[in-house]
Symmetry: C2
Subunit: 365 residues, 2 copies
């Protein structure tokens, strides 16, 4: 498997080949260091037992309430929000309430989506609804969403009002995307365009908000914010395309997911949809196999062995789904980076936004 | 039963005995007439199938999607929001976005609470999760919450930012109240103070917001808004006390609920909690009965006949729980009305706010 993951790293290497990994790691670390204490203080405002449930979700404590050094995720969003403040010529700290609000909304959606989708694992741990029950997953999700608005609006500035409006609109798109995702599950065929629209809503909208919210809080005008949103939106689509590749061909040791994870979940992700759309012999054989799979029960499907998933992955690759998705990641990456030319900013800040975009498409987890 | 309901109407008659029913009905009707078209337009923004699910929830269509003339509830909140704009010397229309935002938050909480509580009926109809499934109840609830912020923030004014901040803070209290409600279900004893705190969060906070949001949108200062919130908060507690009375002794034809509804659900509502707190023989007999009830399964409990619930209701009454709750409704009503003296407003507007408060405590449904 790890060879496969290596291959993929090559497949999606962007135009800028030598991504500045050390620089990006420092940026992600800065986002975590500045945002996490404020995020924890916000979560501490929640009434018991919601504070504990949220702390479990964020990985700060384990299911027994003992402190844990959880995997808080890649933290691309906070890093973006801080850089975004710097685009507006402000200190990165100006973006912190935005970073925290975006993280709160992101985690609200994870809590609710895991429950709606029946997902039992997230970041190598049982999901909140598995540990604390569905009611707490709903309630704490609601509380994090409300907290996001509270954190921004208590700044009491006109800029905070504008930032909250953008965050609210991104959240509506997030919800639209989840509605589409659910409805697609019940459909036999989904087009590439529909899949991209759904991924733009589910992933693009909130990254767009992260990439602009710091600038908005720093007093940037609407044109600047809209352009930064465009960068973030296409970065989100590139991110998701890579996620979809990792969901099939990723190295389980790196991703923390099972082999062929998305195939096991019968997800209509980009490589699958692109392969089905491509036509030709492999595409048609894949379509027949997946149509038969769709009729199987969860239990029958769970009995599949590695070879059966490997066969489906091979057909997706033969039909061109893997290549198309890699190219799509590069196209979205290029569109994102091009948007940055439309905004005045320090060269250092621009270079860091580009490095972050490079990182997103070469990552292996 | 209808005699019982009559009795209760008398028990909670407020200091102002002749409530201006016709005037209040006109106020409620004005709120519905002005707010509903805007509410419907807001819900129409939701992507399919969320728009349909929301329309079902609001009673605008039936489960088959056919138009329905649903029971949209009493519409006290929209009426309050419009009067609130008039307190600030503005036209009632200025309060409309506030009325709509508050209704959206209220219905977000109903969708999620019904699912968390497993309630299968609301306003004489199957709840959304029963008809459209739990995922849609979560998703559409989330969407209504997001829509509430959107409706206010797209006004783009400083006042709208302040209104959204108050609405967000009310929503956090709503969520705290639901968390308390859930945790109390698992406890043997709840104090009157805890019950009042929970009801203040679940009912008082959003009525407080409804009573102030129109004024905030109309440019009122924080002191005026805080005072109107105090009126609305205590009005909410009075409202809930009456609801708790109707939940036990209400006329099913008027309330649309089963006889002894709250007793069937083993709710620790105010009359129950007050009776248990009172001490004395009836209180102790009630405590023993309820402790035994708590050990019964849903099925065993569902086998109870009318007489068994009537016996529990009689003990609550003998222990003073019914009288105490009636008096509490009057106390909260008096505190609400007294708050109005702290704010300058037209005599007509003040009289209407008082009439609305009177209506809340004499209503039979």
């Amino acid at each position: 498997m790890s060879t496969t993951a290596q291959n993929q790293g090559e497949t999606v290497t962007p135009a800028t080949p030598a991504a500045d990994t050390a620089g990006v790691i420092a940026l992600l670390e800065r986002g975590r260091t500045l945002a996490t204490p404020v995020l924890r203080a916000a979560v501490d405002r929640l009434a018991s037992p919601m504070d504990t449930v949220a702390a479990y979700h964020f990985g700060w404590i384990d299911a027994q309430g003992r402190p844990a050094a959880g995997d808080g995720g890649k933290a691309v969003r906070p890093a973006l929000a801080l850089l975004s403040a710097e685009v507006a010529g402000q200190a990165p700290e100006v973006g912190v309430p935005g970073a925290v609000a975006v993280e709160l909304v992101h985690n609200f959606s994870l809590l609710h989506d895991d429950l709606m989708d029946g997902d039992e694992q997230r970041r190598h741990r049982d999901t909140v609804w598995k540990v604390h029950g569905p009611a707490q997953a709903i309630l704490v999700g609601d509380a994090l969403f409300a907290l996001a608005g509270e954190i921004l609006l208590e700044l009491g500035t006109v800029e905070a009002g504008r930032a909250t409006r953008r965050l609210t609109s991104a959240t509506r798109k997030l919800i639209d995307g989840q509605a589409q995702d659910i409805s697609y599950e019940h459909r036999e065929r989904v087009t590439v365009a529909e899949c991209l629209e759904m991924e733009g809503n589910k992933t693009g909208a909130l990254l767009a908000c992260a990439a602009s919210i710091g600038a908005v809080l720093g007093g940037a005008d609407d044109r600047t914010a809209d352009t930064l949103e465009r960068y973030g939106y296409h970065l989100g689509l590139a991110f998701q395309a890579v996620d979809d590749l990792l969901g099939i061909w990723g190295d389980p040791d790196a991703t923390g997911k099972q082999t062929w994870s998305d195939l096991r979940q019968r997800k209509k992700s980009l490589p699958v949809v692109a392969a089905l759309d491509a036509g030709g012999e492999a595409s048609e054989r894949l379509a027949r196999l997946l149509a038969a799979d769709a009729k199987k029960t969860e239990a029958e499907f769970a009995d599949f062995d590695e070879e059966e998933f490997a066969a489906r992955a091979a057909l997706i690759e033969q039909a061109g789904g893997r290549d198309w998705t890699s190219q799509e990641a590069r196209r979205q990456h290029a569109t994102a980076v091009a948007a940055l030319d439309q905004v005045e900013m320090e060269d250092r800040v621009r270079a860091q936004l580009v490095a972050l975009a490079d990182f997103v498409v070469v990552r292996e987890r």
